[in-house]
Amino acid sequence: METVSSTSAAAVEFRDVDIIFGKSREALAMLDAGATRSEIFDKTGSVLGAAGVNLTVRRGEICVLMGLSGSGKSTLLRAVNGLNKVSRGAVEVTHQGAAVDVASCSETALREVRTTGVAMVFQHFALLPWRTVRENVGFGLELRGVTTAERKRIVDEKLAMVGLAPWGDKYAHELSGGMQQRVGLARAFATDADILLMDEPFSALDPLIRDKLQDELLELQARLHKTIIFVSHDLDEAMKLGNTIAIMQDGRIVQAGTAEDILLRPSNDYVAEFVRHVNPLNVLRGHSVMTPVGALPREGNAVVLDAGGKVHLTLDAEGRPQGVLLDGRPGQLVVADGETGLAGTDPAACDVVVAPLDLKLRAAIALRQYSGSPVVLVDQLGRLAGLCGDEEIYRGLLRSDDMVAAQ
């Protein structure tokens, strides 16, 4: 069960959602009797789009719905703005402080949600070819009845935001795929909706452009703090973007959690199969690969960092790293930040690096190489939490079972 505080921050909440395309009553009865998707299709001709979905998307997070094609991820996404009809259950969208159940609300309320609360980005852009870029970006505002002058101001602002300011008077087909999708993004941002639905928005783009747009989306998100529900069939993309990831199979959510959760503890073979091909460098963090503080060799109030017993890390009374001794001689202790690593420090003047616990594995490798010693990981209060050296990095890369057991 959710706690009260976390549900109050929910932006979208799916409650026992079943979606059926076709004759729903008969199919729902079969579903309740435990029939599978193919049995329902054979018997009734109805397609089970989603079944028994419970999911809370919190305000300000990127939630990625992930699965193979036909797993129901788009179906679920499109239930949020009513493009797909929910057969049973509730989809509550927080709109101007109140929860609106789009599955049962009136036509007017749904339209209100669509014009101001939820915007959508489509896989194949869905730009109107007879309109210029500018007119496309202003489309949602125009439907809402925003005045021309106001529209122009907002459109100019959003075009600048996605870096398309000089292209406003072109037609969509005159732009490259990546630029067209930026128009799609600007159109969604223009309505100032708090919730963005993205239906595989980058799948139709080539890999380099895709990567670039993912970075841009993350940058925009860091500034705008939207709630984004993102559909993807690419786990690398999901793990790069998602604060939480919900993996779907045959219309059901089989696992929902953080990227690391899913990578380390796949709930079934289907998820494990996905995870097998994921690059752990960007997903795993220090705390899941490190040797925890309790397991470190100690000499008095100092911790031994190397195998030869020559590098000692001294701790203060609270357990915070205080200094470093190289064979008894004081060395340089440098503090790195979690995301960017070290900036502008001379490697020669750096013997041991201290980094936050949630340091990404990729950064840990860079820091380890930089300092020549294991990376010292500290918790939020600055206390020593563990060490990440070669051994830990290799184990993390291989994702061996004993590391998972160490969790």
Binding site: N81, R114, T115, M120, F122, A126, L127, W130, F139, L143
Partner: protein, 282 residues
Amino acid sequence: MIDWLASNKIPLGRWLQYFIDYLTNHGQAFFDVVALVLGATIDGLTHLLMLVPALVLIALIAGLAWFMHRSAWLVVFVVLSLLLVANLGYWEATIETLSLVTCSTIVCILIGVPIGILAAHRPWLYIGIRPVLDLMQTIPTFVYLIPTLVLFGLGTVPGLISTVIFAIPAPIRLTHLGVSSVPKQLYEAGLAFGATRRQLLFKVELPHALPTIMAGVTQCIMLSLSMVVISALVGAGGLGKPVVRALNTVNISMGFEAGLAIVILAIVLDRLCKRPAPAKRK
């Protein structure tokens, strides 16, 4: 057996005649009003166009051609061919035909486009009207010329009505095609951003269908022109009249010249209505 079949004829023709009789007896006032309005509109348009001196009108049409297509070649062609028509002595008849064609096209658009939109939104309606449209285009025109003649009397109006019956399937079919072929994702983009049904129609469906609808209108104009001679049989003026007279008097030269004027008018209208150059809107 066959004798029995032949001697017990189903009086289909007589039923239709009863029906028309019924209409004339009970709806004459309605048909009179329609005839009056349509007749006055066509005559009015003809008089209006005749008020303008021929050379000025040709210059105006040439200007329109330049404005719409920016093609010097087209302007030269339009001017020379219209001058040829005037030279042959068919200027007034051409104007009469032009206003008949214009009026019938407008009527076709006013009725056909909404029907096409309705049919695109309701598949069952299109299934229902498709055989009717086929019938309207395949039934020999002379056959429905007779009832229209009875209902509307001699003159331009029965010609117009017959023309509309013959030409209206084109805009209906093409409007239906254009509106029903709106890509699903564009439709959904409209929905996702909160479009009402009306906004979907005017901001998504119709703009997408516009090139197809315009093709339907061009086709409608051509079909209307092809009815010019038939309309002349029931008393409509214009270029059909000299053709019919030439046929009756076996006058080869008159027939050729009037026919040439019809062809010229057709080409000029077709070139003018053709979609503007793709550079402006692809």
